[in-house]
Every structure is written in C-alpha cells, then in structure tokens.
C-alpha cells in the first residue's frame, strides 16, 4: 500500500503537536532552577506573558541583558540585590522588591530549567 503521509512530515507534525498536548503551563513560562533548589529554595517560575504586557522584549533582552536561553544568564540573588537582572525592576521602585521570595520561588520541587510550551522544552533538540 502506498503511504499517503510521508514519514518525515508525520514525524515533524508529531514533534510540533505532541509537546503542546502534555504541557499545561502557560506558553513561554520559564522555569529557572539552576541554583534555587540547591540552596534550599523552590524553583523560580518566570511568566513571560505578565512581563510583556508591561515591557517590550528588548528592555530585558537587550538593555538589562537576559539571554534568550533559559538558564544561560547566570542569575544569582547577589546580582539581583545589586540591581542586575530581575533587580533592575524588582527593587521596590518599579516593581515589588526581591524580599517577596515566594512570588518568584513558587515552583514545584525538582522542575528542570527550561521554557514551557515550545520547541525548546521537548522539541527536536530533545530527541
């Protein structure tokens, strides 16, 4: 029997569709657990959607210097306290201060660093 759907196209379709079906997180939520759990804190959940309502992409990714790859920025609480990364806003002036630990460190234990809902979580690079 002649195959109606070419295998390569089917695999590509499956790669694109399947990750969405299993992920409940909001699209583009970022889990950051490079250091948190190792230091006794819950993983950080960063909601892109909340922040992009308020700021253009380049404010964080150009001006402040966040990398466009989850876990690659080398964020630490020391740097945040010095006004770098999240601390550029979360300083009690533009947004609530970093003293509200639970607001960011709100993730379930053992989550792995990564971006949710897209190809970078379980797409081609995953197989």
């Amino acid at each position: 029997m002649k195959c109606v759907i070419k295998t390569r196209r089917l695999v590509l379709l499956a790669i694109i569709v399947l990750p969405f079906a299993v992920a409940w997180a909001e699209y583009a939520d970022v889990v950051i657990n490079t250091q948190a759990q190792g230091k006794g804190m819950s993983p950080v959940i960063f909601p892109h959607w909340f922040h992009r309502v308020r700021f253009q992409c380049s404010v964080c990714h150009v001006d402040i210097g966040f990398k466009t790859k989850a876990g690659a920025s080398g964020i630490t609480m020391d740097k945040i306290s010095q006004g770098q990364f999240c601390g550029a806003c979360h300083n009690g002036e533009i947004a609530w201060s970093a003293e509200n630990c639970d607001f960011c460190h709100s993730g379930i234990r053992d989550l792995e660093t990564g971006i949710q809902g897209g190809h970078k979580t379980s797409g081609p690079g995953y197989f």
Binding site: F20, V59, K120
Partner: protein, 184 residues
Amino acid sequence: MTRYSTVKLLLLLATVAAIPATLAEGWKALEDDDLHDPSNPAVSILQDPEEALSVLAPDSAGNKVNWVEAIRRGQIKPRASLYGDKPGKQHDSDVVMKNTLDLPFVLFPHRAHNEWMSCEMCHETLFQSVRDGNAISMVKILEGEFCGVCHGAVSFPLTECNRCHSVLRDGAPASSSGALVPKE
C-alpha cells in the same frame, strides 16, 4: 504490517489524538498549571493568566493572544525602556524570502517586530543586515536558531506555518535566502 508501519501508525494516531487537546487548551489557573506549587501562599496572590489575557486581542495559538494586534488596538502599551522615557524605534520595511522550496514565500514585517523590540534584539547577532546574509532554514528554526529563538518559545509557535509563509509563489525563480524586496 511491518514493524515500521506499526510505529508509524501509532505515531499518527497519537498526533491526531493530541490535536484537539492542543486546540482546546485554554488558560490554566496557576495552581493547576503543573508548575506552581499550590501550597505556596503566593500562588493565591499572583495574577492568573486568564484575568490578564482574556481581555486582549484573541488568537488561536501560543498565549491565545495576538500580541501585535493588542498593541495596535491600544490594549497594552509595553514600555520601550525601563522607565518609559525612550521612544520605540520605527522601521517599516518588509523582507520577502523566496528560497522556500515549493512553499509560499516568507514575508517578514519589520514593523510588527519593531513595535515589540529594538533593532539590537536581532541585529547583528541573530540576523545580519545584509542581503542574502543569513542561511535560514526550517531545521535551524526548529532547533531554536534565527526566527526560532522567539517563535516556538515565546512568540507565536511554529505550527502557524501560513503566518510567515504568506506570499503566494508567482512563478518567479527563487533567490537565495533573504532577498530584500522594498515595500511598495
């Protein structure tokens, strides 16, 4: 049926079964999203996506928000700088990419992107500002390079083929990638 065909059939069934679930997915409350810890007291304080996103220009994919349209309708005014004291840059030219095999050409609108970010977000790191200077391919995009740095991660996902492949082929010979076509 060969073993290979069986695997292929199972893959097809799993994919087809997953499509309705993908389309039906709405905004999950934080406590139900499999990321936030429901026992964390902050989870009841933080805003749920539905409250913020359901009032914005709707879309069928990603955050279920058409983010470009949300700006144009004045629903949101994301700042171009930390204190909102720097105006966003304006650049309004379209780039048509014709090296797309038998698919429609790709039209890249600078304006829609510039409304969301400054030039330095892409140039000269992700994309070189020269004609035919970027060896873009769908494989690289799927691996998170070029357009795939954002699309499929935070901007509308790669299931939305026609939003980029939006210019019907006119029989003209395909150029190498990234031919610049001035806006009429």
